[in-house]
Structures are given as structure tokens and as C-alpha cells.
Amino acid sequence: MPIDLGFKIARIDLSNCQVRVERLEADTFDLLIGGRGLAAKLLFEGQPAGADPLGPDNQLIFATGKLVGTPVPTAGQTTITSKSPATGLYFKSNTGGAWAKALRRAGWDAVVFTGVSERPVYVTIDDDQVEIHDAGELWGKTVRETEAWLHRELRGQGWDNATIGQAGENLVNFACVMTNLFHAAGRGGLGAVMGSKKLKAVSVRGTGKTPVADPTALRREIEAVLAKIDGTVKAKLYVDYGTSATVEYVNESWSMPVNNFQKSHIEDGHLISGSYLDEKRYMRKGSACSACPLGCHKYSEVRQGVFRGKSGGPEYETLAALGASLGINDVEAVLRGNELCNDYGMDTISAGGAVGWLLECVERGALPPGAAGDLDLSWGNGETMVELLHWIAHRQGIGDLLAEGTRIAAERTGGDSYQWAVQANGLEQSRVDTRVAKAYSLAFAVNPRGPDHLHAQPMAEFGHFPEARELVKRILGREEECTGTTLKGKPELVRWHEDMFALTDSLGICSFATTSSYIVSLESLALMVSAALGVEMSGEELLERGRRCVVLERCFNLREKPNRKDELPWRLMNEPISEGPLAGHVNSAQELGGLLRQYYRLQGYDLETGRPTRELLGRLELAEGVKGLDDWAQTLP
């Protein structure tokens, strides 16, 4: 017997403090599964094209998948979806912790915020009771202070909070939403959307029950997944070091973005690596997200000196963004920067990207050496980085310009400064050098949010470990393409990873289980969906639902901006890697164009424009299932 696959959604209009309950039938599950897929549908249907990201029409959607609340490994993810102020386009950002499980136990699949409150508020969801409260006392507080205040105010255990810090309040274009203190829905400025609505926190307590269709079968399959962890290279690294395990490898293979992607290797890079953090006891055991046996999220502490303090993390991206890509190998400065970003609620990748852009502008004379007062704006200065993070969060001095993100900052600065803004479509690129990772380059270009790794992380292309090679063989029928720089087979790899990622997000589990460490195979996922939800779908049928989500997100973007291009940052498309064994590689327009055409063909998109066709939308049953899509699709070829 399947469990109830309908959706219960709370619609909260902050302009007039109204709460409405909406129910969707199980046919939405059959179309788009839930979580990210459900949110993509709600976003497309629920707001007009051209809505101001920071205005009342933009929706801020918190959604979670049907596996959350069951013991399926890593089923603890919240997907936050909105139109981003940084990109002006569709944006979903995931976060862990225990917030998603609380929401599901409280009986909700999604919460949709619209409107703009006149004064600061926070919202409590206590099982089926939704209330809006004054947050005057909370405004201006850091994430840590906000958590502490809520803990006192709400008294008692069992509340899980999603909050913003000052970065969100000050509408920094890369402000995060933080859940359970240290887990970030990091990218795209969704914290600024929350701040624009004057919504400081969403606190949830759920005491209900999550049904499971076949407990015995579910336990059997979960035990099979858990048994694979220790023998799986990447999963074991997550268990031992978290994502920081990758730093040394990337640096030693000369593909670390150093000095704003000018160089590919940092001297003494091991000083910012996971093993160094572990050895010197900066890194400690952390708090795992709900139902996660990997527990990749570590805590860290600097015990003495000017950078003293503790925080959650650091992740690979942070060590690269606040460290290597600014020429900094002082791990204590990076940990301090990480803590500030967590506490202000600010994305470390974009913050590091903005600081790197400023340093390069000064290096090349587009901005004067005194652009930030007395601060020394040369590469490798940890104190400067830390100081600038304060400035950005408070929009102080040049921090006000940096808070806009590098696309806008470069537009305002002019000259050649756009070349050093390592962004495309308004999003700063993840600290991944796509010039030597061709599947990544395609995945980043077609990612609806911009060039980063969180819509498809095709780690398999490097063939580093047996699980990766096995997957490549399975997708391509052969495994010789297991290097980053080959082009052959990459569109197929990207397509599989995109579909799998969307499916993963839609079920509420973590991509680290399915597409990064590959401990959960598609077959295993189908077995767990069957046992947990009582839904019989093959792996391929599940994957097709992921693909529907990918196509729908593309439609949202084309409705907003018909001339949006699948592209990569200027530097990566125009400047070859300058040093090391991989020197000379670039993501040229010609190379990327070739990959894109093959990908469009696979997807059934128009080969010239990359737009989905009406025929495709009909075949995927999206035209019928998503209100307004067919009308909009009249404009398509």
C-alpha cells in the first residue's frame, strides 16, 4: 500500500499576515516527486514573469522530499527555491541539519512565503499551528545570537530554526539562509530574499509520525547501503574529513584556482588541507544532518591568537574560496573567515570571489590601492580578507560594492574589470577549474543557477575511484573517457548527473550519497522508494522525473530571460591555464559550443537556441501538469 503521496503546503503572505493551507493530489508526486521538483512547479505557477526578486511577488519556497523522516540514509535535506537577486533567475539551494525532518514531522511538505512584512517577523510552525511573531528584538543579530534568542524564547527542546544574519538583512546579493546554526543554503542570495521580506527566522517543531510502507524491506536495503560506505573511497573521505579532504588532491594536480583563477597551484597548500586540519586538531567531529551516516559536516576551532573562535566547517569550497583563491594559506585566517560568513549568513564562494575580484582590480590598476582605506590589498593577506568580510556584511565602504556580487561590481567599475569577475549569469563560479574538467564545464554552463557544482557534480569524469569508473562504463558502455580533459562522452555524463541530482533533491536526500560518492545506486534508490513509500517505479522511471525538473527549471529561466546563454566566466573561456602540467587548457567558445550542441541533441532541445520544444514538453507531460507552461510554450519553436 502506498503511503499518502499528496502534498500539504502552507502559504504565508507576509504583507497581510495571512496563512492558507493548500493540498495537492498525488499526481504531482507522479509528475515531479516533491522537494525540488515540487518547488520548481510552485515557482513557475505562482509568480508572474519579471517579478522583483526582492519584492512582494517573489516566492520563497522551503520544500522537502517524501523520504525525509524515514531512515533512508542522508534523507534530511531542505530545498529552498526562489528567484535570485544575484542572477534574476530560478534558484534552488539545499541545506542540511534537522530542519527538513522537523517540517515533515509537523506534517508539511512545503512552506511558501510571499509578500513583504512591514516590520521584522519570525514564523513558528508547531505541528499544524503556524504563527507570525514580532522579531524587532532579533533584527541586527548574528545567526548565532538569533539561534540563542530563539532557544530562550521558545523554551524547550525540539525546535529547529532557519535563520538569516546581518548579510540577509542588508540584502547582500550572496546572503545565505542558515539552518541549525551551521548548515547553509549558501548560494544565490536567498538570505537576501528572506531579508527583503523582513523574515528573520522560521522555527519548526514536529511531533508527528512518518509512515513507512514496508519496514522490513526498508531496513534490509538500508543495511546494504551502509555496508558499502567503508569500502567506498569518496564516502570514507567524507566520514573522516568531510569535503576538506579534496584540497590537497586538487592543489597537487595543479587545478586549484589560485589568485582569482590566475594560477593553478598554491605553495604549501597542505596548510589548508583537511589532513592538516585534522593533524593539528583544528577539526573536530561535527553534528551529522538527520539520517546521515556520513556526517561530513565537521566543526573547527582556533584556540588562540587573533583568529580565535569556533564554527561549523570548513568545507572544501571555503578553504579554496577564502584561502587559495586569495593566495592565502594561513588556515587560521580562513577558519575565522568561515566563522564570520556562517555568523553573518553569507556565501563563502561568492564572498571569496568578490574579494578576489577587488584584489585583482587593484593589482591591474582598475581600482586604486586605497580602494579599501588602509587595508593592504595584495594577495595572501588573511587579515584583509577577514576585515573585508565585515565590510561586505554591513555594506561598509567598498563592501557596499562587493555586496552586489562581481557582475554588478564590474559593471559599475567598468574598464576590463569584467574579465576578473569569475562569474557567469551573475553567479560566482565554484572553486573548480572547469578548464581541465570538461564534464564540469558543460554542467556549469547549463546549470540554471550559474556556474557551480550543485545541479550536477560529474565527479565520475576523473575516474579516480572504482565506483566512478563503474558508473562511466554504465552510462557510456565503455570506460576509457575517465579523464577530465577528454571531451568524448561528457554530454551523456552530464545529463545523467543532472537527472540524478534533481531526483535526489526531489526525494529529500543528499547528493553526496547518490552522485558524489555513488554509494546509493539508482537500483538501490528504487528499492528504498518502493519500501519506504510503496511506490513501484524503476530506476529509469525515477530518473525521468528528475529530468522533468531539469527541463521545467530551464523553462522558468527562458520565461524570465529569453536570451539567457549557457556560458562560463570570461576568464575561463578566454585565458588558458598558465602554468603546470595542465597549462594551455581553456573552455573556448568553440569547445563549449560543441559540447552544448551534443547536450541539446540528447535533451531534445532546439540545437541553435537550446530551448525545449513544445513537443518535448508534451512528451514529458509537463505541458499538462504545470499550469501556464503550455501557454508560455506557444512562443517556442
Partner: protein, 160 residues
């Protein structure tokens, strides 16, 4: 051979897979209200203690029960709650120094080792929960852990 569930606080990462595994195997749904194991969380230090029946030799829960609902199961060699007799007064919950017995919707909830193959330990990947056969060695190592847990419970008494 008598079995016992051992909890190692140093290994627990707070994921609560055990909590969901327990309630799932005892009722077909996942819920804190139906679980015989819970996690005491100390977030700032990332320390977590699995709370469940320690099968102690003193059994204050049994002594506290006014209706004699906590009875010895000779087959499993442990104390279990007889749901027919239990009146859910909560006296056993108060009496347990390990906070290892809980008040469910209708009766007190106490670990029954799932009949010998505990679901919680089956889904614990960190090694924080292990089922061992009782021997002089396991009893000795269990004692140290119990002491550490009592200190942790005391430190977090107000949070619970």
C-alpha cells in the same frame, strides 16, 4: 547467551538513524513518540548520547513501578514492559538514572532488543551502538561508558 546494547558517546554523530529505525520496527512508522532510544544532544560541542535501557543490575524502574508492569523475560534475559499492565504513570521514567525509559502514547517504552536483533544497531554506521554478548570484558567496558554517560546527563539535565 545474554546480549546487551552498548552505546559509545564518542562515536555518535547525532544522525538519529537509530531513533527512526527503532520506531519503524516497533510500529511501522517513524516517530520520536514511539521510539525506545533517543539522543541527548549538546550541539555546541557536537556531543551526543544515545539514551536507552542500559540493562543495569539495579533495575530501579522495576522497583518504582506501582503496578508491577516491568517484568523479566526469561527468553531474552531482560526486563520488558507489559503493555497490558502498564498505566503510563511515568514513575519508571523518573526512576531511571540513564534516562533510558520513555513515556509513549499509551505505555512506557523500554528497549526490548527487538527480540535479539536490534534495529537501531543495525542502522548505526558510526559504531556508536553495538550489540555484544555479556562477558567480564564487555561488562567492564560498559561500566566506563555508563559513568561517562551519567556525567553527560548531569551536565545537560536542564536541557532535557
Amino acid at each position: 547467551m545474554k546480549k546487551i546494547l552498548l552505546a559509545d558517546m564518542d562515536k555518535c554523530n547525532g544522525c538519529e538513524l537509530c531513533v527512526d529505525a527503532c520506531s519503524m520496527s516497533h510500529g511501522g512508522f517513524c516517530s520520536l513518540s514511539n521510539s525506545r532510544i533517543r539522543i541527548l544532544r549538546e550541539e555546541p560541542t557536537a556531543q551526543f548520547a544515545p539514551l536507552m535501557c542500559e540493562q543495569c543490575g539495579e533495575h530501579p524502574c522495576q522497583d518504582a513501578c506501582p503496578v508491577k508492569a516491568i517484568v523479566f523475560d526469561p527468553e531474552l534475559s531482560l526486563l520488558t514492559v507489559d503493555p497490558e499492565l502498564c498505566v503510563a504513570c511515568g514513575d519508571c521514567v523518573e526512576a531511571c538514572p540513564y534516562q533510558g525509559i520513555f513515556l509513549g502514547e499509551e505505555t512506557a517504552l523500554k528497549c526490548d532488543l527487538c527480540g535479539g536483533d536490534p534495529a537501531c544497531a543495525g542502522l548505526c554506521h558510526t559504531g556508536a551502538l553495538r550489540v555484544v554478548e555479556v562477558s567480564p570484558q564487555t561488562v567492564a567496558s560498559g561500566l566506563d561508558r555508563k559513568q561517562a554517560k551519567l556525567h553527560f546527563i548531569e551536565r545537560n539535565r536542564h536541557a532535557h
